[in-house]
Structure formats: structure tokens, C-alpha cells
Amino acid sequence: MADKKHKLLEVKGLTMDFGGLRAVDSVSLEVHEGEIAALIGPNGAGKTTFFNCVTGIYNPTKGDILLHPKGLETRRLNGLKPNKVTEMGLARTFQNIRLFQDMTVLENVMIGRHCRTKSGIFRSIIRDKGVREEEQQIVETCYQLLEKVGLGDSANEFAKNLPYGAQRRLEIARAMATDPFLLLLDEPAAGMNPQETADLDHLICRISEEEKIAILLIEHDMKLVMNISNPIYVMEYGKKIAEGSPQEIKDNPKVIEAYLGEETED
């Protein structure tokens, strides 16, 4: 069954330079429908930079980023603004949590609906029936999303008052509100305790299965990655050094040297 899956994201030879530093060096990667792919590698390997290039926050120096939405024509994402990329159906979370701190939890998620709704300034002032219905729709959708990530009870709290793990889940809900078909998660388990990590594991699988959203995941927690993701891509010093199934990655000597070896040392 694995061979017939639709290719959603195709990155070819992506390169990103910062001044003299080559943070990402011709990395190629693919994400297929229904997959939970993972991107791993030691700190500073260039994973986050890779995400930033794909989502339009940086304009890559070289390479192609192609998005193949199902049933629509292929789009090249290079040079698009982040909001355009999100509109195409590719959403993300951030390694250093970037919530809207002084907005409520629900409002954070409602921001995600912005690009899927359309009432403008004048209609917002008049607040006609269409606008009111749209608002109601937004609230309902967002509440449901919050309940899915287990934050239904905190909807009207300020985002800044949430505990760390909950903030990470809120970021996921906010990204999901943009109706993506591909979700990029940057270290979603960072700073979580084992229990929270297990819940997250569960949540990610559910998103993948129930919502039919493909996932590309950056993660340091090896247990989480090996449990749920396939395939796994490994980066080091900006280069891709390996790809394959969890088993293949575990057995790959390069990876053991670069990454897993480092883990077992300390």
C-alpha cells in the first residue's frame, strides 16, 4: 500500500545560507498522504531553518519546494509569503512557543480561522446576519478543536496563563484551525514530562488518522519518534545524512555516530 500514496510535499535540494553559514545544505524530502514523517538531528542541524524555508518565513537560497494538493495543481512555494503558504494548506507550530499571549485561548485558535473566513471591515461594523453566523461558526469550530487537544475548559483563559504543555497543544490547535492537509510540528514535546509526551503521542496519531492530516515532525524525543513516525529523515550540519524506516535509522551507523551515539554518551 505504501507505493500508491499521493505525494503532498516535495522538497528538492533545499539550501539556505545566512551570510557565510550554510544552515541547510541541499536537503531533499518528501511527505506523502497519511504519513507521519519525522525530521531529526542534533541541535543546530538546520531543522528549524528547513521548516522556516518551507513555510515562507525565509526565502531559500536554492532548491525547490513543491506542494501537490490533492486534486489541485502543483504549486511552487519558493518566495511565497507565509500567509500564502498557510492558505495553500500547510500549517506549522514553533519550537519557541509563539502564542498570542494577551489573547484568550479560544481567540488564539480563532486567528487560525482568519484565512478561511472573509467578513471585512464594513461588514464587521454593520455585523449583518452573515457575519454573525460566520462568527458563530468560527467559535464552534474552534471550541471543537480545543476539545480535541484537551483544552476545552480553558477556552476563555489568557494564553499566557496556560502551563507549558498546554501551550504546545494550543499551538497545534491553532495550526489545525487553518484547515491544513499537512502539519509541520517543531519539537512539540520539548519541555513536556513523560505523561504529557505520551498524551501528545496519542494526539498526533489521532490527528493523522481522524483528521487525515499528514504530519512532518521535528523531535528530540527518540521514543516518540520511533513509536509513531515513518519515514524518518536525519540531518546533521545542514545535510541530510540518512532516511528510512525507524528500524533502518536505528541501524544506520552514520546516525548512531551523529546522533544516537551522542545521546547514550551522557
Binding site: 545566512f18 551570510g19 528549524t48 522556516n52 518565513i57 525565509y58 514553533f94
Partner: protein, 300 residues
């Protein structure tokens, strides 16, 4: 040609003053990414303290360039004290606050200091005693460049050389550069970042005060409001050269000085300030990194 040379040296003089003040903006911005709105007020306070010292001296019968030096030294000391206190009170408690907070605090302090001087001194222009004699050796070129201009040029030149030496050659200078590059890293390798930030404000204030004293004795009058426009213009110079870059501040100051001088000389002086702001807007839109600045991508 004569007129051109006059404008050229006029612009150079003006520009070197802008450069002095711009250095304070650029150094502070380089380290804590804050437009120190109150920097122009430090310049004004420097000029005012110098006026008070020079005024007392002339009233008691002393005059000449030594009085100017005395007034300048005291002005620099006080400007440093004000700059240091300003940072400590208005900016340090706001480290790590949202970006707009220190900026608003800076605007508040600018208004505060302006009105402080207005209230404790006077709203009127006070004449600054004329302390620079006409040097005999300047006689032949006096129609192009006068003695006061010469004093300004020499002083700013020497000051900038000293600053360059300080930054390039001393331990403190090294620590300042390290802090500018990466504050957290500098802290990790044992730089006392708080001290360096204080020091940056002190040095910037000293430069501003030198500029203030020179301008005051050159123009011949002082008032509580002079810092505002000078500040905005010097900031323009800093941005023009590339904010964060020391050489850029000097270059930007000179370019701005010349641009203003020639525009006023050949076009019209009514719109001199419009011209400056127009330039500022244009640079920020077309090349926000300035002439010598580097574009830094924000880390995400």
C-alpha cells in the same frame, strides 16, 4: 566655486556634529535594539550645562578657549551622569519587556527631560558666550571656513579617533563588540553585560555632550528644545549609514550634513527639515539596512 567650498565645509561641520550624536544612537541600538529617543535631550543638557559653566566664567571675567574646554569637560561629566541614570531608571527595568515598552518609555523620558530643563531653566533662547577666537593662521581661508568650524572639525576628528581606539584596542571595547554580536553568548563567556550597557550609554552621552557644546558655541545660543531636532537628524544619519555600524554613523552624518547644506544652499532652506525626513523615509523604505549596515534575519 567659493560658494561651493563654503557649502562643502558648512556641510562637513554640520555632518561631523550629526555623526557625533549618531554614534550614541548607533551604539545603543547595536546593543539593546532600542532607539534612545532621549539621546537628543542628553545633547541638549550637555549644551545647557556648558552654557551655565561658560556663563559663570564670563560673568567673572574669564574667557577664551580654555573656558570652552572647562565647560566642555563639565558638560561631558554631567551628560554621562544623565545617560547612566536614564538607562538605569527608564530602560533597565524594561529588559525583556515587549519591544514597544522601552520605546515608549524613551519617548516619555525625552518629553520629561525637555520639560525639566524648560521648568528649571527657561523657555527662552539663551546666548552662549563667544569663546573661540579668530585664529590668525585661518585668515587666508576665512571666507570658506572659519575658526569655529576648524575647532569643531578638529575636536570631532580627535574624538572619533579616540572612540575607534577604545573599541578596537581595549578589553572593554572587545566586550562591547561581543555584547553587540550576541548578548547571551557574551554573558556566558563572562562579560558583565549590564556594565557594558551602562558604559555604552555613558560613552554615547559623552559624544552627544561634546556635540552639544560645539554646536552651542558655534550657533551662539541654547534652548531646551534644541535636542529634539538634532536627535531626529542624528538618528537619520545613523539609519542612513546603517544602524549598529560605527563607521556607518560617521558616514551617514557626513552625507546628511552635505545633503542639507547643498540643498539649503542651492535649492531652498524653507524645506530643509522636510528634506531630511524625506531622506529618512526613503532610506528606510528602500534600504532599511543603510549604506554600511548588514541585513540580519530575525531568528525564528
Amino acid at each position: 566655486m567659493e560658494y561651493f567650498l563654503e557649502l562643502f565645509f558648512g556641510g562637513l561641520t554640520r555632518g561631523s556634529i550629526y555623526a557625533l550624536i549618531a554614534l550614541g544612537y548607533t551604539m545603543v541600538y547595536g546593543i539593546i535594539q532600542l532607539i534612545n529617543f532621549a539621546h537628543g535631550e542628553i545633547y541638549m543638557i550637555g549644551a545647557f550645562v556648558a552654557l551655565i559653566v561658560a556663563g559663570i566664567c564670563t560673568i567673572y571675567g574669564m574667557t577664551g578657549i580654555s573656558v570652552l574646554i572647562l565647560a566642555g569637560v563639565i558638560a561631558v561629566i554631567y551628560a554621562c551622569a544623565y545617560g547612566f541614570t536614564l538607562e538605569k531608571i527608564a530602560y533597565r527595568p524594561l529588559r525583556g519587556a515587549p519591544r514597544l515598552s522601552p520605546l515608549i518609555s524613551a519617548i516619555g523620558m525625552s518629553i520629561f527631560l525637555q520639560n525639566y530643563v524648560l521648568l528649571v531653566q527657561t523657555p527662552d533662547f539663551l546666548p552662549f558666550p563667544s569663546l573661540i577666537p579668530d585664529f590668525a593662521f585661518m585668515e587666508p581661508v576665512a571666507y570658506i571656513i572659519g575658526s569655529p568650524e576648524l575647532v569643531i572639525l578638529v575636536t570631532t576628528f580627535v574624538t572619533m579617533i579616540l572612540l575607534t581606539l577604545l573599541i578596537k584596542k581595549t578589553r572593554v571595547g572587545k566586550a562591547m563588540r561581543a555584547t553587540q554580536q550576541d548578548m547571551n553568548m557574551a554573558r556566558l563567556v563572562g562579560v558583565n553585560v549590564d556594565r557594558i550597557i551602562s558604559l555604552t550609554f555613558i560613552i554615547g552621552s559623552a559624544l552627544a555632550a561634546i556635540g552639544g557644546v560645539l554646536v552651542a558655541s558655534y550657533i551662539g545660543q541654547v534652548n531646551f528644545y534644541i535636542g529634539f531636532l538634532a536627535g531626529v537628524k542624528a538618528f537619520t544619519a545613523a539609519v542612513l549609514g546603517g544602524i549598529g555600524s560605527i563607521a556607518g554613523a560617521v558616514l551617514g552624518g557626513l552625507v546628511l550634513g552635505w545633503a542639507e547644506s547643498f540643498a539649503a544652499g542651492y535649492i531652498s532652506s524653507d524645506y530643509e527639515d522636510v528634506f531630511t525626513f524625506g531622506l529618512l523615509v526613503l532610506i528606510l523604505i528602500l534600504r532599511p539596512s543603510g549604506i554600511l549596515g548588514k541585513t540580519r534575519k530575525q531568528k525564528v
